[in-house]
Amino acid sequence: MYSEVSCAIVSGIESILVRAETDISPGLPVFDMVGFLSSEVKEAKERVRTALKNCGYNLPVKRITVNISPASIRKTGSGFDLPVAVSILAATEVIRSAQLKDLVMVGELGLNGGIYPVNGVLSMALAASECGKHICIVPKENSFEASLVPQMTVVGVSHLTEVVAYLNEGIECSRKRNEAPTDEESACQKEICAEDEPEADFAFMNGQKLLRRACEVSASGRHNLLMLGPPGSGKTMAAKCLPSILPPMDKNEQMELSKIYSVCGLFAERKKLLDKRPFRHPHHSISAVGLVGGGQIPHPGEISLANGGVLFLDELTEFRRDTLDMLRQPLEEHQLTIGRSSGSFTFPADFVLVAAMNPCKCGYYPDLSRCRCTQNEIDRYFGRISQPLLDRIDICVEAPRLNFSDITKKADNESSADIRKRVIKALAMQRERFKGTPIRFNSGIPNRDIPLYCSLGKKETRFMEEMYASLGLTARTYHKLLKVARTIADLDGADAIGLSHLQEAVCYRGLDSKDWEGVA
């Protein structure tokens, strides 16, 4: 007898539908699995055999061949157990094959027949829906994830017998069609939101006026930001607040981000799409693969998990240089393409890079009464930052040590919501300006278009000419400065870049080694 069941594998963050076929024919009793399988998929044989036995189904004493096709794609992951088991059951006519046509199923089997969650269910369900399959059988823990796909009927199962019961008798343990959530559900969702960590808000941040403003400019033009300051000056706090002033994510962005989290197994038992912009802060010991993604079977890295949000690199100088250099391509292209012999994988990586570092080894540098670093130590410290990475950071700002009154005073600081309104306005101006071009934000203006978008008046040109000489700017730093000035003008609602915008942009200009020479 022959049977066929659809299942899916994750490739990058997208999924591909594949078929698990079973044929049972007379011959010596062998259980063979073929189809370019990785070792965890080969092991499915033992799990399936035992699970079937423990559920009371005996394998026929015949030759059983399982093929997962197409055979050209390497099969990885533990989600094949359930489809293989079901296709064997269909081939032995325990389950009627006709039932299996519109179905896609994934799940890992335990030896007792229990079904355990797998990664990437959201991505698989999306792929299924694109291929016209409208029913998904998924592990119970993954059922919410799958039900986020519109028009998808999701059957969450926790035991093999439940699957058989559903397929033969239509008995459902928990079936979910994607409908508007009932009152009870939305109440439950709200509860979950409340359980989330309260979002950082600029209202709780005292002092640091320049840093606050720099964050606003950074969010408005998607400029990468570098914060420089002694320990405990609020750099991490500011970075955490940054996602709260980015505009809310739209449905597409939410879906894409949720997909990445699902593939990485980070979706957990969330009851909705991820709707908050991500804030990722990997520890500086992270490997290059952990940061940008990769591996033999490429999986997304931190930069993809920060897609649409903020990637915060605290203690920038402590990161390995080659790790940071891996960020160069994704920072330019907002995505990362990883080539492997099995094909090339593209991961989205559209994030704002926020980095923080101390000004020197001890952290107190221009305060000479506390800093004891020698000039050599300072030179070495600065030498550790990768210049190509610095070149991709538009805004650099100092976060000075707070004094007592700043810490204790109960100022009514502007809240993130208010700042966000201005940011959204500035982004709207950019959308209008870049209509019909591939440019999305000011930070992405290519150098050849700078005269078009960042033209200066006579007075402003003269100012920049002076600055060019006195600050020792280069063509690149000059262009960066103009882009930042453009964003500041957008925040101001101004069509032309004015003198005050340029002056502010000069305050945010990038670091260079000279900063450490002219001691305070």
Partner: protein, 361 residues
Amino acid sequence: MKYRYWLTAARGGNAAKRKLLSVFGSARGVYEAKEEALRAANAVPDAWIDRLLEAKRSWDVQKEYDAFLQKQIGLVTLEEAAYPALLKEIYDAPYGLFYRGTLPEGCESCVAMVGARRPSGYGQHTAHAIAKLLAESGYSVVSGLALGIDGLSHQGALSGGGRTYAVLGCGADICYPKRHRDLYESIIANGAVLSEYLPGTPPVAEHFPARNRLISGLCKKTIVIEARAKSGSLITADFALEQGRDVYALPGRITDPLSEGTNRLIAQGAAMICSKEGLLSDFLELPEAAFCGDSTYNKKKMCLEKEELLVYSCFDFYAKSMDEVQRESGLELSALITAVSRLCRCGLIRETFKNHYARIT
């Protein structure tokens, strides 16, 4: 000359070399003296003489001297008139002095300037200004080519069109620190770099205190710009006092760590620098009134607007961060940025570090 090079290169104290010289008259005399004669002279310990004899045996005087000539480095010894007269006076004056450039002439009056390697903005500005003023008034500036005050003093002297000398703690053919390569070359063109160490000697920490005695030894007056409580500059000041030279110190606020050393020097009796002009009049023994104040500052200040004056008054010679000034002035950030930008353009303040500004005058 080759014997002089031999004696300079021979290991041993300068005092011993001087004694031998007084007995045998010249380096050649020392070289050609018999072992018995050397021992009989009873000028120096026997161990030293053994070393000297060893130096005589292992050295091919002519060959080594030819190799030295290839290096284009000058050598002046106590036996020559070109040897700086003031240096001759000091205890432990080196027998030979290597140099690149031209040595100070007899009539030239030199002033030593030393200070912290990482000075404050106040120290930086004052060092440069004083060195420039001294150069303009015909003084030469002697310092140590180190980062910070040393380098700025050399630069100040050069920008004042004067001559300047750098005493190194390594061979005269080595530029240390490397960052001062440009400065090193311009000092050679407008003065000299001097060293008591053989060409090729690497910069070693213990050389530096020793070279400090040459910095003060070359000059009648030593100025200490900024020094922490335990600073190498204070060693120079001590040498200057030992050598019977005058020490001037730049005062600072008692709370500034960089002025701790200089303030203590003043307390111990060093002359206090009250103003650049006062310093110069002291040097030239002229009444202070002969110099008029810095008028450019007042002129620059005239063109400021009210808000900028307010911001300017918040700044100090010690760098302050933008946030600090914002807090003090109470201005809006955008207005503050405009004012700061204007002040920078006027040359009244400058950015010393990322978003930190200090007054220049």
